[in-house]
């Protein structure tokens, strides 16, 4: 892995920004941005991976498609990812205006990012995977 995961950095930057970061519109706004990016990246990963499963109409031929057994592994990872994504969103939602974000926000963003990275590692190389990696900026 040549680069650090950009979403993690964004997440920790947001958390360290805390309530006094006026340029980002406050801590809750920063938490919202972190959640929105993590959530969108997770949804995109889920949708693209689904289309790449061998046998799907849009999937490339083997060995570029995702084998059924690997898809099963990925489903388990995505299940964890969406559970954490929900926790993250609810934590941001429950954070009052004008107070620092809980440290757990950064931790959850990091965990979701790691799970996205784990999914990407299981997807065979293909133009579709390359496009996905580019969009979520995890390399």
């Amino acid at each position: 892995m040549k680069r650090l995961l950009s979403i993690v950095l964004v997440g920790f930057a947001f958390v360290s920004c805390q309530s006094g970061c006026a340029s980002l519109g406050g801590a809750k706004q920063a938490g919202f941005q972190g959640f929105a990016i993590a959530h969108t990246s997770l949804m995109l990963t889920k949708n693209v991976e689904h289309d790449l499963v061998c046998g799907q109409s849009q999937a490339p031929p083997p060995p570029l498609c995702v084998p059924d057994a690997v898809h099963g592994q990925i489903l388990e990872i995505l299940k964890q990812g969406f559970t954490l994504d929900g926790d993250l969103g609810r934590l941001v939602q429950a954070t009052p205006e004008g107070v620092p974000l809980p440290a757990e926000v950064g931790t959850l963003i990091g965990k979701v990012t790691k799970l996205i990275s784990d999914v990407l590692a299981l997807i065979p190389k293909s133009p579709q995977k390359a496009a996905l990696v580019e969009k979520v900026q995890i390399k």
Binding site: L24, G25, G26, K28, Q29, F32, Q33, F35, A36, I37, H39, T40, S41, L42, M43, L44, K46, N47, G72, L75, E76, L78, K79, F82, T83, D85, G86, G89, R90, V92, Q93, E97, E134, K135, V136, Q137
Partner: protein, 79 residues
């Protein structure tokens, strides 16, 4: 202040950006501005609904796969 039509347009854009990827949402967030709390909180609520729906979909697929995998030991699966 955002109008109802603006909010609907934003939610439409949120759905579209799922297909287009992360840079789109970053642009969208910039468009939203940083002080419209109502729009932001509604966007969080919408994404949470989306997340819960995705989780249910994944759990259903995992259950369906377990039911068809021999020796899974789960209810409904082959013995």
């Amino acid at each position: 202040m955002f109008s109802i039509s603006s909010i609907m347009a934003i939610f439409g854009a949120v759905t579209e950006l799922i297909q287009k990827g992360r840079p789109a949402i970053e642009g969208l967030i910039a468009l939203l501005g940083q002080h419209d709390i109502k729009v932001r909180d509604e966007a969080i609520a919408k994404m949470l609904l989306e997340s819960d729906a995705a989780l249910q979909e994944i759990e259903a697929e995992i259950a369906a796969r377990a039911a068809r995998v021999p020796g899974s030991g789960l209810p409904g699966g082959p013995v």
